[in-house]
Symmetry: C2
């Protein structure tokens, strides 16, 4: 049973080799085949691609960031437009986060660097205070103080109207002492419970995924799974710091994933490189969101179906008139050569970023199809 | 008779009211209906739009800049690709210039400012010398000296393989004394003759348009028409400085246009705002190239079929969920609202530039269709 009658998760095939499964997440805006890749369109657009092109590429789930949309254009504007789908002209499913991730990651000077554990503890004072009530932060645009509470985050996400929403949580840096971690950990659970209660008072056809916390402390991770799986969330996302190395992350994922209910979709927040997907799928992770493939595209790093990457700006591409990936059937590879892309990047033409983004998104979608086929054949 | 059997200009209808005419320029890559707008894709792409999208929009002639392509990727690379059409994946006609315009306009600190006659005579020393032989200039990318002669410009344009090419000329600033003007004027004619001779020794299916010079001196303008129309160019472009005000330009155009042979296509170089098109068409100008509509798009200025413009960033558009131009049937107006475009521009998303460019190019193409209909009805 689920609180959202418009939302369900059907397991099509459970692999005999691993925890990997092929599934279908059913939402009011259609089906998401899993495992799948979730592209990130922070400002209500994938960078360099318009929404209809993204739909034509077949991207089944797109991630938008509530924090950015609160600041610009404001969730009230999106609500007035009739919700995020109508605002951006998207007919397929959307997911939004709580805003917490950006608030805290911007405050900690980019969680990405921090997670990679340069050991630096930066803060730019955008977070003005964190209390039981919520967080007060300064808008990155104009410094205006904005209050984000479990309730206001959910109301903002109700304005946006994505198919899947996420409760407010506090994202902690990797380097944090045990006492501060535990205090935040318990507060984050209370915030998620309040978020959930706000949500269920008016589900509005949306589903909500909990976010498993506890950083690299396995005891806390287990406690987080225990606490959150007792609430009737529609799915579970793995969040928080997962360590300072890939090995540490994979070890943690192998510990956490089996603690999650198999009958609900499992999501890995903010991680979508091929290596992590390779490891995550056999552990039973169903969806992976990441801006990595689109960011790589804009930096001229193209993915291929064979698994290697192509550096567009490499001088070897100057007079290479073959398609970027000869096996790829995307618009870019069907119509343009490596040499032309090389030229566009050299000339700093936006067209190059668009064509590269089309390719990387198409490749991610195709790779996920291949993963699903392999699971159906019990090869994973 | 023409030297290029693959090129012809057919007048479909001569207006009874003015020198305006509807015509068809036939090229190896298809027909250009005239009057028409020619969009500028300096670096072998319209900014923010890929080549196939431009074709789908119905842009019949696209202008690329030889100077930029010589510097990056190098015309040898384009030749190796099989020419510009194949390099950029364009099946419709292309026109390239000689390179001279950019060499001189970059040297004079942007001819646009100079033509607008701020009276400043700037030079950034990119032009190292101008002699009878040609011009030596520094690459804007790496400072490498590049020699551009009438012959080398044409050979570069042969490498590119556009349907229409342009002889080397010297672009003078508006503020120039009579003696320097006349010396350059005569040299420019000699350069154009040498360009023509190089071209006819191997036409390769290309057509060549002469460039009428003489700045604001009507006597020189007439002499330029006399000299150049004696050579068997396939068309005539009006170039050089046309004065410091629109009035001066329109007066000059009214003087020059009737001096050009009616049976050949007439082009106005680098000017394509609606006001100038309005004035130019009744004078018999057939094609107008300009980067103005695409540049306006990237700055959030949208054209409409009714003739007014829309400032995307205007706060009135924040919650205006109507299409940018309700009468427009372009991809952007069919699928997206003013509010969404406003948001994309506010968020500095490239997607906004792409959608705005699609709209402005589509609007220019549609407006030119409307002009042709009016001429067919003798309303212009």
């Amino acid at each position: 049973m689920t609180l959202s009658p418009t939302f369900s998760f059907n397991i099509v095939h459970q692999s005999k080799r691993s925890r990997a499964r092929v599934g279908q997440i059913v939402t009011p805006h259609g089906v998401i085949d899993t495992p799948n890749f979730v592209a990130v369109g922070t400002n209500a657009t994938l960078k360099a691609l318009d929404s209809l092109t993204v739909t034509q590429l077949g991207l089944q789930l797109m991630f938008c960031n509530t924090y950015h949309l609160m600041v610009q254009p404001g969730t009230n504007i999106v609500k007035k437009a009739g919700g995020l789908h109508r605002f951006i002209g998207r007919t397929l499913p959307l997911i939004t986060d709580s805003g917490g991730f950006q608030v805290f990651s911007l405050a900690y000077g980019g969680v990405h660097n921090e997670l990679k554990s340069k050991g630096k503890r930066q803060t730019n004072n955008t977070v003005m205070s964190v209390t039981e009530e919520g967080v007060i932060f300064r808008s990155y645009r104009d410094g205006t103080p904005i209050v984000l509470t479990p309730e206001s985050s959910i109301l903002a996400q109700k304005d946006l109207g994505a198919d899947i929403i996420i409760p407010l949580d506090e994202l902690l840096p990797y380097h944090i002492d045990a006492q501060a971690l535990e205090a935040s950990f318990n507060r984050t659970h209370r915030w998620q419970k309040r978020s959930f209660q706000t949500h269920v008072s008016d589900p509005a056809g949306q589903a909500m995924y909990a976010v498993i916390h506890g950083n690299v402390n396995k005891e806390l991770r287990k406690a987080s799974c225990d606490f959150l799986t007792k609430l009737d969330f529609d799915g579970f996302a793995i969040g928080g710091s997962l360590g300072k190395t890939k090995e540490e992350m994979f070890d943690l994922l192998a510990f956490i994933a089996p603690l999650l209910p198999t009958q609900k979709p499992n999501h890995l927040l903010g991680i979508g490189d091929m290596n992590s997907i390779d490891i995550g799928i056999p552990l039973g992770i169903d969806t992976f969101d990441s801006s990595y493939p689109t960011r790589c595209a804009r930096h001229g790093l193209l993915f291929t179906l064979q698994g290697h990457t192509i550096k567009v700006l490499s001088s070897a591409n100057r007079d290479d008139f073959t398609p970027p990936d000869p096996l790829c059937r995307c618009f870019t590879c069907t119509n343009y050569s490596r040499a032309y892309l090389h030229h566009l990047f050299k000339a700093h033409e936006m067209t190059g970023y668009t064509l590269a983004t089309i390719h990387n998104v198409h490749t991610m979608i195709t790779l996920m199809q291949l993963y699903r086929e392999k699971i159906l054949n019990d090869e994973i």
